[in-house]
Symmetry: D2
C-alpha cells in the first residue's frame, strides 16, 4: 500500500517519532511504501515530496523538529486548494494519507475525507488542549524546558530578592503554565482560563514578602488576561488580543512585560520579565514524548490498515483509540475548576484570592 505522510502547523517535539513509528510498522509488518510530503499541505498542493524508507527514518527519534518540515499553508483557504491536494494524491497513487497536525491541519484532513480521500489524523498540539485525547506529545518536553528555566531563574531571583515574571506558551489553555508552574515551584500562576486581578497578584506577593520570602516567581501564560472588574482603584492595564507586528507575527512578551511593570509599580519589589518563546518547542523530546509519539504513529498505521478513515488516533486511559476527526477538532480542552482548586491547595489563602487565576 502506498501511503502519504505530512506534518503541518507549528513544530513540536515528537513529530519525527510519529513518522518513524508509522514507517517502521508499515514496512516491517504491512509491506507499505511511503511518500513524505514536504512542508505540510504546501507539499501536497505543489507536489513536493521525498520517499520515506527505513534509512530516512533512522536516527530521527531523538531529534526535534520534523524531517518533512512544516508550514501553516491551508488549502481550504484557496479556491482550488482541496482539488489540487486530491489531484496530487491521485497522481502519486497515494492509497491513504496520514496527516499529523493541530486543529487547522486536521480540518483540512476532514475536508479531504469529505471529498473521498482516505485520511487518518494524528493530533499535535504542544499546549495539550485537544479535546478527545488525554495527552498530546510535545507538552511534556515543553514543561521540562520551562521547569528547568524556572529552576535557573529561582537562584537568580533569590540572590537578588527579585520577582521574576516568566511568560510561557498557552494562548487559549493554561496547561503549560499550570504544570510547569507547579513543577518549578511558582508562587503565582496566571492562565487564560481565569482573568486575573493585578491588585490581587500584588497583594499575594506582598503577603509572601511579609513571611520573609523576598523573592517570587510568577508564571504567566501568553494568553492570560487582566480582569476587567479589577478590585483595585487603579485601572487595570488593557492588553489587546495577541498583538501582531508588521509581518503578522504574534508579538511575544506582551503580557509578561506589562505584568512586571505593574508588579514593580504596585509593590516596589524589583521585578524582571523573561519570555521563553521558541525554545519551548524545539529540541530533543523527553522520554515520555518519544514513547507517546511512537505509540501515536503505531496507532495511525494500524488505523489505515483497518480502514478507519476520517478518524484520528487519540489517547484515552493510556490506550490509543480511534475517534472521528470531526469530534476532535471541535473544541479546546481547557484547565477545569477541579484542577485549579487542587493546585490552589499549595498556596497560602489571601483575603480573597488564590494563587492560580482569580
Amino acid at each position: 500500500m502506498k501511503i502519504g505522510i505530512l506534518t503541518g502547523g507549528g513544530d513540536c517535539p515528537g513529530l519525527n517519532a510519529v513518522i518513524r513509528g508509522v514507517v517502521r510498522k508499515g514496512i516491517f509488518h504491512y509491506e507499505d511504501d511511503f511518500l513524505g510530503f514536504l512542508e505540510g499541505w504546501r507539499g501536497v498542493i505543489e507536489d513536493k515530496s521525498m520517499p520515506l524508507n527505513l534509512d530516512a527514518v533512522s536516527g530521527i527519534l531523538p531529534r526535534g523538529g520534523t524531517i518533512l518540515r512544516t508550514s501553516r499553508t491551508n488549502p481550504a483557504k484557496r479556491p482550488d486548494g482541496i482539488e489540487r491536494c486530491a489531484a496530487t494524491l491521485e497522481k502519486n497513487k497515494i492509497a491513504a494519507l496520514i496527516a499529523i497536525g493541530g486543529d487547522d491541519t486536521l480540518s483540512v484532513a476532514q475536508k479531504l475525507h469529505e471529498n473521498g480521500v482516505k485520511v487518518v489524523g494524528v493530533p499535535k498540539t504542544i499546549d495539550n488542549d485537544l479535546s478527545g485525547t488525554d495527552y498530546t506529545f510535545g507538552f511534556d518536553t515543553a514543561c521540562n524546558v520551562v521547569c528547568e528555566a524556572i529552576d535557573r531563574l529561582h537562584t537568580t531571583a533569590e540572590a537578588h530578592n527579585r520577582v521574576m515574571v516568566v511568560e510561557v506558551m498557552g494562548r487559549d489553555a493554561g496547561w503549560i503554565a499550570l504544570y510547569s508552574g507547579i513543577a518549578g515551584g511558582a508562587d503565582v500562576i496566571l492562565i487564560p482560563e481565569r482573568p486575573f486581578d493585578i491588585e490581587r497578584v500584588a497583594e499575594s506577593l506582598r503577603q509572601r514578602h511579609e513571611r520573609g520570602r523576598y523573592f517570587s516567581i510568577v508564571v504567566v501564560a501568553e494568553g492570560a488576561k487582566f480582569s476587567a472588574n479589577a478590585q483595585s482603584s487603579q485601572a487595570a492595564p488593557v492588553l489587546q488580543d495577541a498583538e501582531k507586528d508588521e509581518f503578522g507575527h504574534v508579538k511575544l512578551g506582551g503580557v509578561a512585560n506589562v505584568l512586571a511593570r505593574e508588579i514593580e509599580r504596585r509593590t516596589g519589589f524589583e521585578t524582571r520579565a523573561v519570555v521563553l518563546g521558541h525554545i519551548q518547542r524545539g529540541g530533543s523530546p523527553s522520554a515520555f514524548d518519544r514513547v507517546l509519539a511512537t505509540r501515536y504513529g503505531l496507532g495511525a498505521i494500524d488505523m489505515v490498515h483497518r480502514g478507519e478513515f476520517g478518524c484520528m488516533a487519540a489517547l484515552r486511559a493510556n490506550k490509543i483509540i480511534s475517534i472521528p476527526l470531526k469530534e476532535a477538532i471541535s473544541r479546546n480542552r481547557v484547565v477545569d475548576n477541579e484542577m485549579i482548586d487542587t493546585v490552589n491547595g499549595l498556596f497560602e489563602k489571601t483575603a480573597n484570592k488564590q494563587a492560580v487565576g482569580d
Copy 2:
C-alpha cells in the same frame, strides 16, 4: 492537628515534592503541625524526628532524595516493633501518620492501621509496578535518565560498530526497560515478564546487521531471565536469582555481563555491557514527577482530614483517589501482553521472534 510523616524504602525522585505538598496544604489550609520521622520506620521505632514547617520544605521541590532520609527497617520483623511505633506516635501526640513508601513500608502502615493507628499511605515505586495506581512518581525521571544514557551510547555504538547491552532497573516488572527502550530507540528489549531465548536475540541482531545496521542497542531489565527451553542447541546460561555479595547487597550487572558475552560469542559482533545502576534513582525529578508527587502529597493531606485512614492515595484516570492499603500492597502490576504486542510493531519480524521478550 499534629501529623507525622516518614519516607521508607529505596529513594526515588519526587519524595521531597510529596513532603512539600503535604506540609504546605496542611499549614496553609488546615493549620496542622508536622513532625518528620527520620530514616523511615527506624525513626519511629527510635523516636528520631525533626519538625517540618514552611522553612524546612522551602527549596526542596527540585531536589532528589528525601530530607527525612530513608531506610529499609521493617518494624514488623522485630518482636516489639509495631508496639514501639505506636508508643512513639502516642508519646509525640501524633494524631495521624502519613507513610510514603513501597510494598514493604505500606505493609507496616497497614499493620499499624490494624492496631488502631490513624495512617494514610502514599505509594512509591520507581518501577511503576504498583497495582491500583496508573503512575507512580520517580518512574518518569528514571526513564529520562536511561533515555539520555542510551542517546549517548548510540553515538559510541555507531562509531565503533558495536552492540551495547544496557542494564536498567526492574527486578519484577519491565516498565523502565520498555519505556526507556522505546524512547532510546533500542533494537532489543528484554523484560522479566518474558524469559528470553538467547539464540533468538543473537538471530535478531544478525538480521539487523544484514540490513546494514552494524551497531545495536539491547536494553535489559535487571530481572530479565534466560528462557529454560531455549531453542538453541547450545545450553542457555543459568542466572541465579538476584545474586548477592557478602554484605547481602544485590549484585548489579549480572544479566548484562552474561548477555554481552553470549551475544559476542554467538554473533562475533563486538559487544559491551553498561550497568546504569544508582544514577537512575537519584537527582532532580522531571517536571512530570514533580507535578505528580505534589498531587500525591495534596491528596494525602486531604485524606487525613477526611478521615480516610487505612487508605492510600492513588492515581486513576488522571485523578487522585483513595483506595484501601490492603488492596494496593497485594499485587505487582506487570507489563501486559497488549502493550508488548503494540511495541513489537516497531520491530522487524524474525522467523519466530519479536524484539520484546520471546
Copy 3:
C-alpha cells in the same frame, strides 16, 4: 583568624563554589572563623551577616546564585559609605575581607584597601571580559545554556524555514555570543567589538539561502551596534545605548527585535527573535565552572594567609596567581582581531563581509 566574605553585583554560577572553597580550606587548614556579609556591600554597611561554618557550605557546590545573596549597593557612592564599612568590619573584629564581584564590587575593595582594610578580591564576570585573568567562572555555564537553547532553536528554524535571531548577554564584550555562536553552529555572530552593517547581514543570509539552506541562526550580543556608515542605501536603524525602563532596568530584546524586523524586511525570510535573558546566569554551574570557582576560592584564602592584600586572585596559564586589584579593574578584555579572523574561517566569504562583525 576571623574573615569576612561577601558577594556583590549580578549573580553568576560558581559563587557558592568560591565561598565553599574559601571556608573549607580556611577551617580545615588554617583554623579560621568566617562571617558572611549579606547582599554584597549592603550587608557591610548595615552590619547584616551570617556565620559561615562547614554546615553552612555543605551541599552548596551544585547550586546557582549565592547563599550570601547580592546587591549592586556601592558604598563609594554614599558620603559615609567607606567609613561605615570599615566600622562594621572593626566592630565584628574582621581581620581580613574577601570580596567576590565585578568591576564595581572590586573598586570598593580597592578603596577599602587604600583606607587600610585588609582585602582580597575574587573576580566575577559572566561575560569573561576581565583583563588580568584568562577565564572567569560562570562564563562556561552561560555558554552551555545558550548553546543548548540554540540547539533547540535549530530544529524549529529548520522545520519552518525561518531565520532565528538569538540575543545573548554581552554589553561590552562579545565572548558569550562568539563562543556560544560557534558552539551552536550560528550562521552570523554579531558582537559589540564590531558594529555591523545590516545590509551585509541580509546579504549573507540571502547567499546562504541560495546554497539551499532555508533557515539560519543569528546570534547577537545585547551590546552589538548597527554600523553608522552602512553601505546600504536604506538608513540603518539607530539603537540608543542600553534603553532603560521607568525603574531604571535595562530593557532586553532591543537589538534582537530591531534586527529581526530589518532582516525580514530586507530578505523576505520569516524571522523571529528570541531573548534568552536571565536564564543565562542562573542555575547549577558546569563542571568547568565548579572547578574554576573552587580554585579561585582556594587561591583567595591562601592569599589572605600570605598577606597579599589589595590583590585579586587571577587565572593565568591554568594557574591561580595574585595580581594587584588596581590592575585588574582598569580595563575590559574584548574579543581581539586574531580570534575574529580565526572564527571567520568557518564562514563563507561574501563580496565584502565575514560572518562575525563587519
Copy 4:
C-alpha cells in the same frame, strides 16, 4: 587540493566538530575537495571512503561519535600496512591527509610522514593526558557527564547514609577523576598517579562520619592502584593490570567493586559501586568542546595549506599552534604534585593522609 580525513581510536565528543571545521574552511577559503576514510586506518588500508562536502557536514556539530566511524586498526602492526596506506592515498590522488586520533593513530601518521606522505595530526584523548597540548576536546564533556552523575548519586547517598564509589575513565592519568571529583564535591579522589592505601581511605571516611556526615562519595579512576606498602595490618587487595575478558575487552568495574567491598568491610558503612563506563564518551559535546574541536579543525586545515606536515595542531595558552608529531606522541601528561596539593586544600587533614591519592 584533494585532502583525506580519518578518525581513529576510541570515540570522543567533538570529532564531528573537527571534521566540520576542516571541511568548511577548506571549501569556503581554499576550494579544497575532501575524502573521508571510514573506520580509521582500516578505511585507508581497504580503500573505503565517502566524499565530504558541505551537505555531509551539515548538522553534525552537536552530535557525538564520528560520521566517519572509527576503529583501532593499526597498519604498522601489519607487514604491508604502511605501504597499502600509501597506495590507497596515491590511488585516490590525496595530496594531504588529516588524521584525528590518539597516540596510536598519530604514531601511524608519523610513520606515513617518514614514508613521504603529507600528514597533519589532530590530537584526541578524552583523558586530557597528551603532552604538548593544554586541553583536548571531549574531556570537558566527560567531566560534565560524570559531574551530573555524581550530583544524582549524592541525593541517593544522603538519603540512605551510604558510601558511593564511582569509577570513571582514566587508565594512566587521573584528570577526569580529579576534575569531576572536585566538581561533584567528592570526599575522596583516587588517581593512577598516586597508589592509595586502602586503610587510609577507610580512616578518612570514618573521620568524616564522626563529623556527622553519614554519607560519602569516592571517585576512583579505573587505573587507580592499591598501594603495595599499605600501613594496614590487613594485606591490601591486589588488582591485576587491566583485567581482560575472553574477547580481549578490558573489564570495567574492577577497582570500584574491590574498593567498595574493602570500604564496607573496614568501616561497616553500607557501600555501593557505580561504574559509569561508556556513557562518559558518547553524546553531544559541551559548548567548550565544540569550540575547542572546531578550532583544532580550523588549525589543521591551515597547517595543510602552510605545508606544516609531520606536525600536529596543539592548544597552548589558548592559541592553536603547530608542533612536531614526534614530540606529541612521546609522553603522557599526568596530574602533577602542585595540582594535587592545591586540591588537597579542600579536604580535612587526617593523621597522615590527604583525600587525593596517598
